[in-house]
Each structure stands twice: as structure tokens, then as C-alpha cells.
Amino acid sequence: MKVLVAVKRVVDSNVKVRVRSDGTGVDLANVKMSMNPFDEIAVEEAVRLKERGVVTEIVAVTCGVAQCQETLRTAMAIGADRAVLVETADELQPLAVAKLLKALVDKEQPQLVILGKQAIDDDCNQTGQMLAALAGLGQATFASKVEVADGHATVTREIDGGLETVKLALPAVVTADLRLNEPRYVTLPNIMKAKKKPLETLKPADLGVDVAPRLKALKVAEPPMRGAGVKVPDVATLVAKLKNEAKVI
């Protein structure tokens, strides 16, 4: 069984993101980039399925600039067998990525597609769902447990107030939530091996996909600074302030 795992190159989660002074976006110059943490969980899950003998081949895919190759190498160091980069320097919005992934699903015919539930840069949480719709596949989002047997995936989903278990026929799309697993550390020998694994590069045009953005960002601004705290002498003042100043009670 073949699994397709989609990964995204994003600003590293340790980096404090800074808005460009002209408000046109986030400053990416010299900023450390890494694989989206939820996608790392997706790759890890695919590798664990392979280790359990369920999966035979893992293909990592991403869309974006040439440097996204590094992200794919990381995926292969975790355990993906080969990788596909859809290379473009154009801005990519979730719909365009979903269309590119749909074209790759047609090409690769995987039984399972695993993605992170969302990317930590734009927090859209759309690509997996859009892909499922475009490809006509069943979907199980926010997965915290995945089991595959007899042409079906049984997925435990994290929903408001609890867990929901769904069973869906393969092929299907699964998006990974935080508690699905804890990704392993990549090892030096596996980094070396990953350098030799095949990495195919395509252009959006090769897949016949128009990636032109449909949405326009008007302005990007930092959240307002938090004001300094005050000490109150007693409960009565606190209640009064919450009522009259903060207007929360």
C-alpha cells in the first residue's frame, strides 16, 4: 500500500515572527525554516504504518520554492522512501496546494494521504479538506489514532468535548493532530541515506494546475501590545474593575 504525505516548509516554531515594517507581510529574510510540526507528525505516522507492515511505500510531497527540497530531505530522513517537489516561486494558497495535491494523487494513486491538520504559518486548516473534496475521497481530520486494515482506515478524531471514531474506505485523506504521535529524532545515518533517496521536481504547469491566488492580503499587523498589569488592594476593587473597566462581568 502506498501513502502520500504532504509536508510544508514554514517559519520554525521557535522563531518569533516579525511583521515587515511596511505591513505587507512577515519578514522571512534570514529566518530559520523547518517542516510544519503537524506534517512531521504525519510523516511519522506513515513511517510507523510502514514499520507495522501496513504500508509499503511512502512518498513525501511539497509545493513551493527550491529550498523546500530540504524539507523533503527531512521527511526522507524520518523514513519516507522518495519525494516529489512541485516547484514554484509563486505565492501558494490552500486551494492551489489542494489542486496540486489532487493532481499528484491522480498520478501516484495512493491508498492513503496523510497531511498535518494545519500549517503553523497561516493556520488555515483547509488543504486536507479541500483535497478530499477535489479528489472525491473520504476524510478523517484531526486524527489522534489511525489503524488500517482490510481496505479501511479506523481513525480516532479529536473533536470538541471528546473523541470520535470513524471508519472510512480507502483511499482516504487523514489529517494529523498533535497527539497522534511524537516524531522521532532523525539520526545521522538516516540523514546520509536520505541524501541518496530519489527526489523528483515538477512544475505546476506539468500537472496542468493554475496556482494563481484567489485571495488578496490587504494588511498584516502585529497584535496590539499588552498593557502593564496593576495590583488591586482587595476583591471589591477587582470586581469593580472587571465590571466597569474590562467589562467582562
Binding site: N14, K16, S21, A29, N30, V31, E182, R184, Y185, L188
Partner: protein, 554 residues
Amino acid sequence: MQIAADDRGTREAMEYDVVVVGAGPAGLATAIRLKQLAAERGRDVSVCVLEKGSEPGAHILSGAVMDPKALAELIPDCKEKGAPLNQPVTKDEALFLSETGSTATPAFLMPDNFHNDGNYVISLGSVTKWLAEQAEALGVEIFPGFAAAEVLYDGQGRVKGVATGNMGVGKDGEPTENFQLGMELLGKYTVCAEGARGHLGKQLIATFNLDAGRDPQSYAIGIKEMWEVPPAQAQPGLVIHSAGWPLQADTYGGGFLYHMEGNKVALGFIVGLNYRNPWLSPFEEMQRWKTHPAIRKHIEGGKRIGYGARAITAGGLLSLPKTVFPGGALVGCDAGYLNGPRIKGSHAAIKSGMLAAEAAFDALAAGRASDELTSYPEAFEQSWLYRELHQARNWKQWFKWGLWGGTIGTGIEYWLLPRLGIKSPPWTLHRTAADHTYLKPVAECPKIDYPKPDGKLTFDRLSSVFISNTNHEENQPPHLTLNDASAPTAVNLARYAGPESRYCPAGVYEFVDERLVINAQNCLHCKTCDIKDPTQNIVWVTPEGGGGPNYAAL
């Protein structure tokens, strides 16, 4: 404390001709030069570089004004290859600050070492990233996110390589579910390029007595901020150095402020770690230095976008240890090639790496391994770098007579003598004591009251560490270890009022109810505690690879 690795199984090993520890300018220059020589002479040489930071440049911090001499020797077409040396120095200013005033040294009185014609205002982090790309293009294997935690010796006591730290060890020292054993990287030669007060370099200096007969090493702490200023305030290429206020005349140190391209201003403050008053806080000296009118005017209305700190090896030639040992060498600041009076070390780091690489290549070509690369220090003594450091050898020692004694002494050496045709002073001043011995008991020292930060121009430690993008895996043993757990309260607090809570630029050390709390997650890997702790009780060991700051082009 050594983290025992091998009792958890057998580590895998990978073999290389040369293993380099640290992907900074010195380590990368070593790797690049080895690969260049290999290509020129048609010989295969395998080189790997370990880097504890999450990527090359993540732990690099410098002023910086760079003398491009060594880089041009290493990569003659560096400009064509896109080396990020974009902003030539256009103007030099040297200021003597009093509390409210400033006096600029007239250009004709400025010693030659302060002239920066032909030099560039750079981000050393960006240059390092670029060097890493050049190295990878030549076939060097760079492994960021892997800390060299341990030196490996063969049966004859020669260095045979290093081991990376174990990953996934819990706070309690026990393996977690994700435990990953470290690896052994074995090399015919191991080159340590960890920067100032390298964790392995320190052990190697002790094991092989490399500092026998040399002056004690001397260090300083450099704290840096990056600002973005309104375009009208930008003066790209302007380079300012200051002495005097806010430091007392008996404390070695000063400020720097460099206008870079893109409306950025890099500024920082350096304090010699041989300071005496335990109340002194280098971080807060820097914060109040920014409020001086001569400094404030450059950044007011701007925004602080980066912060970091790093110890500097400042002892110069007289403190330079023996740089070779059986099976390897020390290069860059791990040895201590920084030129104090020029406040520059990156050119020296690159040059020393090249010299070590040339010696290692010749040795490999002759079929040698694991011996002393004696031709490296020999070549150094014949190099321009030696002449430069020989002329500069007395610099910091002059300042034992305070700022004014230092100014007169160095003025004679760097301004007067060259004008009399004497290139190098005919006398030598030695240093006798290590930095950690200088602190005086708190009872003998005046308390220093620092002003509160305003959140606009001046800041506290925690908001500063926040923008250094520092992170460590929380569930791991502390990497700041104590030889004697009672010393912080019994000695440091009782006698010196807990100086670690002031010299640490990251707020790692706090005394709560007379007990020391170590917030190791904040650590910027500057190594100041390892140097300045009065009883040398604090020992810095490598945390899990990939942890620490993520500087963006500092």
C-alpha cells in the same frame, strides 16, 4: 560531568578523514580549504562538520566589522559567489563618553587599528550561512542539530574523534520513549572550532596541558542587539566605537554601533570578564549605555528586532594555547586568535582554519593520522596573522591600569610607535591571573543601581531572550551543571551576592529564597558562567542538539 553514553548500548560509528566540531567561520574555513586542496591535488578527503545549532549561523553572534583579507584568500571570487559583504565601512568614529557628553577622537589621533577602510559591516550569521553553502557545494557533510558532547580517545590517548550526545534523555537522566543513542564520528584528525570557551576545547586544553607556559586566557562578554531604524536615521557604513561611561575607569570594555544596509543598526557592549565588582551587570551596563545621547540618537524611534550574547576570547597571542595535540587541532576562538585592539576575530578564525586544513591535508597525503599537526602552528608563525597578533599582544594588559593608563599605553603602542617606524612594541606585558579570580567580596564594593527599563529603548532580560528565539527541549537534564551544589549559596551568594544572576545575559540564574534556580531553557550558550564563576563550580555541557538560540543573522 560527563554524560555516560556507552552504557546504553553500542554507538554506531562513521569514519571521516577530518571531523570538524562547529560550523562557524573557523570550522567551515577548515572544511572548505580541505576540499579545495583535495580537488586541486586530485585526492579524495572526507570531511564532516558537526553543529549544535539548529542550522549554520543559528548560534553565531558578532559585531561585526570584517576585514575581508582572509575570506578573499579562502574564496578569491567570494564577491561573484554572492558573499554577503554588502556594506563597506564609510566612516569611523571613536567616542570617549562621559555621563552626558562625548568627545570624538580626531581622525589623525586615531590609532591605525581603529581605521576600518576597506572593511565591511556584516552579519557574521549571514556570512556563516553562506560559507556553509559553499562548503556543502564542495562536498562537505554538515550536520546541524548535532552537538559534539564528548571527545573520544584511542588506546594510546590520542584523539580519535567525537561522539554526539544522546537524544531523548529525560529530566531524570533516564531514556524517554524517543531515546536515540549518540553516534561516534571518527576522524584521522579532529578539528575543534567551537568558538570561545569551547566545551571540548576546554577539556582538550586541560588533558594535553596545552596552556602550559602561556598567560591565563582572558575573556569578555559581548551583548548585542539588532535594531531597525527609520530610514531618515540610517547612515549605512557608519562605524562607532565608544569607551568610558557607563563603565568605571577600572573596568575593561566599551560599546559598538554599526549602521548596516536595510536601515538596520547593530549595536552592543563588551565587558571584560576580569571585572571586580560583583554588583556589575554587563546586560544592564549595555541597557543604560543606550540611553547616552550620542548612542540614543541613532536608534530612538526604531525597533529592536534581535538580541544575543556570547563570550569572546580576548587574551591574544600571549594566552594562545598550543594549538595541536595528538589527533587534532584547535582553530578560531576555541584557541583564541581574536585581535583585541582591532576588535576583530572572524578574519583570524578563517585564516587559522585554513592553516590547520593545509597541515591536515599534507599529513593525510603523506599517509599520516592521529599525530600532531605541527606544521599548523609553524605556518601560523610565518603568517600575517601572527605578525598582526604579535603587534597587538599587550593590548588588554594595559588596561590593568584602568581606562586612562590603558589609553596612554595603547596610544603609545598603536599610534606613536608606528609613526616612529616601530611596527611592534619592544616590550611585552604579561597577565598573571584568570578572570574568575578577580571578583572582590561584595562587602568591599559599592552597589550599582541600574535604572528600570522603559520597554522602548531599554529592556529587561526576559523580553530580550524572547527575541533570541531560544529554545531547549524541556524534558532533558540541565546542561548547566554544578560540581558542588552547596557553593552557590555558601560562596556565591554569601560572599559575592550571587553574581551569576547579574552576569548571565539570559536570566538563567536566579536566587529564590537563598537557593539557586537554574532556568537552563533560557541559555544563549554564551559560556560566561563557565568562565566567571568565582569557584569554577558551574560547568557548561552540551544540551540536546538543535537547542539554544536561533539567531537570525546576528
